[in-house]
Symmetry: C2
Subunit: 298 residues, 2 copies
């Protein structure tokens, strides 16, 4: 490729940073997506240096995938969607980064996910993956609900389901709570035999480690385990409530995104399921739309 792109034909890179992965997509206005890359977690709430490393790594992989050289990053206009940058301090930390791009625009991962889900249009999304959060972008106004991160918020998320399940399994093993097949499933998940084994695998671990238990919790709930069902129902009730709060601003479209969107859907209230539309593009492509919008305004 030629790095002397003009303002009229710029190259964009969209980056979606999350609790478990960082995805980058290089987009050309002429050719569409020309390269993609995936690196590790990029959540500023859980470490800035790891965030920058993952952004850099996913960028390098996308450049390589596009047949470009690493120095070509200087020609890219970047759009970053990152968790936690609604916290002013973290936003400042990110925009102060000595980044490798021609220009860099930063917004929340919710915003870029929403732009992507509705292919540049306005609408609302709920993200339920490692974390959970609701977001609506209507009439140029932004509504962000829930979130707040693990273990403080993120109700109904994968990490929340995992934490609640581990709590109940430990209470069961200690004789404080009712019997649940979750206990056996969690012991099997970690290949351990007692409470100590569970603690050793979870103590001080990140949200993504807890989120790996989410599928197990949903399976136990689907097998009618009472404790697992109560956890999933409480999480799903919160997500349904979250959706209804987003509907109050009349979003033209509504989608659910993230690894739990599909398995959690049957547990949501019917009025919420009725309004679900498929996502049209992934968050990292949403981040390129965001970069394109910001670049034009600038």
């Amino acid at each position: 490729m030629s790095v002397n792109q003009t303002k009229e034909k710029p190259l964009f890179i969209g980056i979606d940073g999350g609790g478990s992965k960082c995805r980058a997509t290089i987009y050309s206005s002429e050719d569409g997506v020309i390269g993609t890359g995936v690196a590790g977690r990029a959540n500023p709430l859980h470490g800035l240096s790891q965030t920058f490393e993952s952004i850099q790594m996913s960028t390098e992989l996308a450049l390589k995938d596009a047949g470009m050289s690493l120095s070509d990053s200087r020609a890219l206009v970047a759009g970053l969607g990152l968790a936690g940058v609604n916290v002013p301090r973290l936003y400042q930390d990110i925009v102060s980064w000595d980044h490798p791009f021609a220009d860099m625009f930063v917004t929340t991962d919710l915003h870029t996910a929403c732009i992507g889900a509705h292919r540049g249009g306005e609408g609302a999304v709920i993200i339920t993956g490692t974390g959970s959060c609701g977001y609506a972008n209507v009439d140029d106004k932004h509504l962000c609900l829930g979130g707040h991160g693990f273990a403080l918020g993120d109700k109904g998320s994968g990490a929340w389901l995992g934490l609640k399940a581990a709590e109940q399994a430990l209470l069961h093993l200690d004789g404080f709570a009712e019997k649940t097949i979750l206990t056996e499933c969690i012991l099997n998940h970690f290949k351990v035999h007692d409470a100590m084994g569970i603690v050793e695998n979870l103590a001080g671990q990140t949200s993504s480690v807890y989120a790996k238990l989410a599928r197990t919790v949903l399976e136990c709930a689907n097998e009618q385990d009472h404790v697992a069902k109560e956890i999933v129902k409480e999480g799903a009730a919160y997500i349904s409530e979250l959706a209804r709060k987003l509907f109050e601003v009349n979003p033209p479209r509504f989608s659910m995104i993230g690894g739990l969107a599909e398995p959690l859907a049957p547990w949501l209230d019917k009025d919420v399921i009725a309004k679900l539309s498929p996502t049209l593009a992934p968050p990292e492509l949403g981040a390129t739309y965001f970069a394109r919008q910001k670049f034009r305004i600038k």
Copy 2:
């Protein structure tokens, strides 16, 4: 002091490491306590290097307090009571430490707290400070219940009360939960004005930061705030249940230890309150008893 202590007249140092502080006490069989020191948190579950630093620092302060030089640590027989060392990996990490003592014996902070509370005798304790846990030492058998650390377990602890309160305040601010005066109290605690301010002060923080909210939760509960009362009642019900499980092994004495022991006591069930005895010595002195017992056996 003379560092050529004989096996018959050794000097002991008891160290109690916890989620917020590390306390060291130097004990002489002839003169009793001759020096004390307090340093920062020493919880191996949340970082080994900080644990070693805090042990070192509290030891140095205790030596100074006793009018001894730093190199005199080589003459001390140390007893360490540390959280998390029931996890085999962490126990190994601690005993493999290139420690500055003549000899070092390691056990859980629960064990040394229990030995201290009953001045060397057997009995049971519940610790409710930053974390929560139950422990009984009867007929040379050890029973350890609960704990598991923040945010996985430690129900009824200061950090747990703080986390539950922050969760409810954020749900209230987002419009998902009932009104609670906790919200205003937590906003005031951090001198912030919205959910984002609370998140900014708590996201990624340690259990001790959450535990600082516990007094606020108890005050709101005492002022009959419904949400705060429900949180405190749930925590206290768990602590009462924990106590009854300890009573099953017929401990000759029962005490409660930690910053929340006193404010939480009125919320416990009457049968538990009836069995409460005062603690006879602090955990760091319990750690010297432990060192003395182990040293004699060795």
